[in-house]
Amino acid sequence: MTGPVRRTVVAHPQTMASLRRRGRPATGRKGGTPPTETGQDELDVLLLRILVRAQLSLALRLAAVFGCLLGGLPLLLASSHWVRHAKVLGMSLPWFLLGVVIYPLMLAGGLLYVRLAERNEQDYRDLVEGTR
């Protein structure tokens, strides 16, 4: 993991404008003001929707990549005589793919996801702090 890097918030210009418009005074929730203003609640919901959408699209994109890689493999093995019989490092290619290569590949996918998902959350925190 890299150190704390200041990240740029990317959102639709209208979203950013509305965030700035609805920004709450700097008292914050712990300052004693109960969260009566519906503006803040709506804002929280809006910000979170941005995060949920970002996390879902990240997860679905990675799932699609792995779905194509792993899901395409049986079809490839069933249809290609060459792949079924090819050799790598003295080992049959299907054994090499299914028995060895696939595991570090999945680990790499997992590491990448955690990194990107935590970055999305950091962006969200920055946004939340920026509006309070």
Binding site: L48, L51, P74, A78, S92, W95, I102, P104, L107
Partner: protein, 567 residues
Amino acid sequence: MNAGLTSAAIVVVVVATCTIGLWGMRLSRTTSDFLVASRTVSTAWNASAIGGEYLSAASFLGIAGLVMTYGVDMLWYPVGFVAGYLVLLLLVAAPLRRSGAYTLADFAETRLGSRSTRRLAGLLVVAIAWLYLLPQLQGAGLTLRTVTGAPRWAGAVIVAGVVIGNVLAGGMRSITFVQAFQYWLKMFAVGVPALVLLAVWHHDGSTSLTSAAFPTFRTATTVHIQSAVRLDVTAPQPVVVHGVVDNRRRDGEVLLTAGEHDVDKGATLDFPAGAAVPHADGVPRTTGEVWATPFGGDQGSHPLFRIYSLIFATFLGTMGLPHVLVRFYTNPDGRAARRTTVVVIGLLGAFYLFPAVFGALGRLYTPQLLLTGQTDAVVLLLPGAAIGGVAGEVVGAVVAAGAFAAFLSTSSGLVVSVAGVVAQDLLGGTVRSFRQGALLAGAVPLALTFAVPQLPVSEVVAMAFAVAASSFCPLLLLGIWWRGLTAPGAMAGLLVGGGTAVIAVSLRIAGYAPPGWPSALLAQPAAVTVPLAFATMVTVSLLSEHRAPADVTSVMMRMHAPELRAG
């Protein structure tokens, strides 16, 4: 195999499990300690514990057995077992932890605000857990009989007894320590022997495993028939028989003619070196070349459909397994849940490099398992057969100890999760009710072990995955990501998806195997039942829009909002 040494190794594992469990008991004070280890388990402990809990009899024994019998296509089992965690990581881990629910039933209630959905989810948790416990206990029986000759019920009773006792004594906290210890024990018990076996194979001249020859006995081999078997003999073969063959008592040399022969329990057959191995009825007879090629041998009807269905079941079923989810609540927060899951993917991937080695070398050194049909025992018998001497006995004892660790850890996790559901939903959530739940959770599958016939352990475990994928996967994915899910929708989906999967699996366990498509569907139903469950949940939810829970916004916020303090 040296029964004394192996028994000693098994006793060491059992005693170590109980000792660590008791150590944990001193730390268990409150109900919260019992249920979720007070949510303070670190990432490394938790990931090891998840790995230890997950690597069951199916992983430790079953994969090697399936690979030995059916070849390279069976590697989709371990791939799917790991890929399930990748899907879990991407779509479920952090929001589920943040939802604050402890069991799948809790999740259903928190998200949908419906007691009846909660009870239905609880029922499915118990059904899946019992389906998963059954092969663990049967595997324990097989193992103890293979290595010591003890009757089949002995292993099942020992494992059930130790697990129930341990859970009664310490609950979840002790189980976390036990599970973490057992991951590393299993890793050692499969990894080191696999490397030794590869070295032995290399030393023996690296005999090709993929030649165009059918399996033969390398050396003169005496085969003990432990349960009656029908053999398929392809060419006349003289053997020395002691026991009943084709309903006649024999003591001496017999010429087994080409065709089928029934051999009774208790018989021994002496094969000369170089003899072709007759295969048990139902074990496909393939050359090394065909065995090593994808879609090579006879794997029943519609092999491509079966593989895709297996992929559906394992990729999507992992998230719905009760003993997997319960473990996530011991993470301190959502971020830790994600990090733990990645470590788990690494730990499991490392483990699954090895079982295939046993399956492949088994065809060379223990081909008699193709004759007895008990290829699930290959991991246990291969070290003795390939290495020989004292070294072979020591390695064999290590492997048997690892196998017992596998039964103990997975069974513990399942018993804890069933006990959790029973305690919370039926008996009021006290420590006392948790203990009663644990007793019930272990006793029922133990009784079932005696009632149903033995199936390959990996196959039964894959059925539990199929049921989980057809019920809890849609509940979790739609519940976490779609605001429109309603209680009627969830219940309809659980009933239709889980119900059809349970029916298919029950027919299969009962031995119903019609030819063609129905057989493929019953063996691997997930490719049909999972989309069916999703479609039902979405359709009924859309039709019952007015029943959407009023607090859906705040529940969604809680699930998805990251903890504000960055760690």
